[in-house]
């Protein structure tokens, strides 16, 4: 089966998170991913885009976020690109919910959720472009004949 790719570009504003979720949902369902994988992808992509809006672009909505879903026989990948501040995944420490509650402070859980829900998370930067790839592997790729039938 040839790889297929579908793209979308959104402004860096949280009002477009719903559009991103619909985009991922549509293509993940069309690729015959199971419902739970579709839900996990929606959340992970939402969290990644929210982080880009809040941290890479520091809340400035005048930038763009480029997304692509890449559908292969054995996996479904969402590639997200921005040109904001680079995120260093090695410096991330997941917060503790008890501490968050005590400090009455939300936030910082997006990366933790992404890592829990995705089978593979890759970060790379080239020049001013930052890229994160979120991948779910298909459970039985050898049975997928590329026509949407298992």
């Amino acid at each position: 089966m040839a790889r297929s790719e579908h793209k979308i570009k959104i402004p860096s504003s949280t009002r477009y998170l719903e559009d991103v979720r619909r985009f991922v949902e549509k293509h993940a369902q069309a690729a015959n991913l199971p419902d739970d994988a579709v839900e996990k992808l929606k959340i992970a992509v939402d969290e990644a885009c929210t982080n880009i809006i809040k941290h890479a672009y520091q809340g400035d909505s005048h930038h763009n976020i480029d997304l692509a879903v890449i559908i292969a026989p054995d996996r479904f990948t969402v590639r997200i690109r921005d040109e904001g501040r680079r995120f260093d995944p090695s410096k991330y420490v997941a917060p503790n919910i008890l501490e968050s509650i005590k400090k009455r402070r939300a936030g910082g859980y997006g990366v933790h959720i992404i890592r829990q829900l995705m089978d593979q998370v890759e970060y790379r930067s080239q020049g001013k472009v930052n890229e994160v790839r979120l991948t779910k592997f298909r459970l039985s790729p050898e049975r997928y004949n590329g026509d949407g039938n298992l």
Binding site: T14, R15, L17, E18, R21, D35, D36, E39, K42, I43, D46, E47, T50, I53, K54, I97, L98, S100, I101, K102, R104, R105, A106, G107, Y109, G110, H112, I113, Q116, L117
Partner: protein
């Protein structure tokens, strides 16, 4: 226009917040405003009914984390009821069931408020 809304309903001394739609970083401020309204009106017994809540991300969960301590210090609680399984799974991912009263039905949440000896 957002696809998220919070409905308010009273059951005795308990305020029920009916969440509808999708709770994400864009719509989380609406939930925050709803909880703040409860606090301002001295309504500290809150049930969040998630029967029609289709989606939640960490932004939505963060609102609960930010306010639960204050609500409990005021003698109340935020109990969470009727979550769809796919939404419950996200709460579970962050360990919410250990720290929040998450129950199957609104009636159970209401009964838990009565059991705790709060006014009804």
């Amino acid at each position: 226009m957002s696809n998220f809304s919070v409905g308010f309903r009273s059951r005795g001394q308990v305020t029920v917040l009916e969440l509808k739609g999708e709770l994400d970083a864009h719509t989380a401020s609406e939930l925050e405003a709803a909880i703040q309204k409860c606090q301002q009106e001295q309504n500290h017994q809150i049930i969040v009914n998630g029967e029609n809540l289709q989606y939640i991300s960490s932004a939505g969960l963060g609102v609960f984390m930010a306010y639960i301590e204050e609500v409990r210090e005021n003698g109340g609680d935020i109990k969470i009821a009727s979550l769809q399984p796919k939404v419950y799974n996200v709460f579970d991912l962050l360990g919410f069931p250990m720290l929040f009263d998450i129950v199957a039905t609104e009636d159970e949440a209401f009964a838990n408020f009565q059991k705790n000896g709060t006014n009804d």
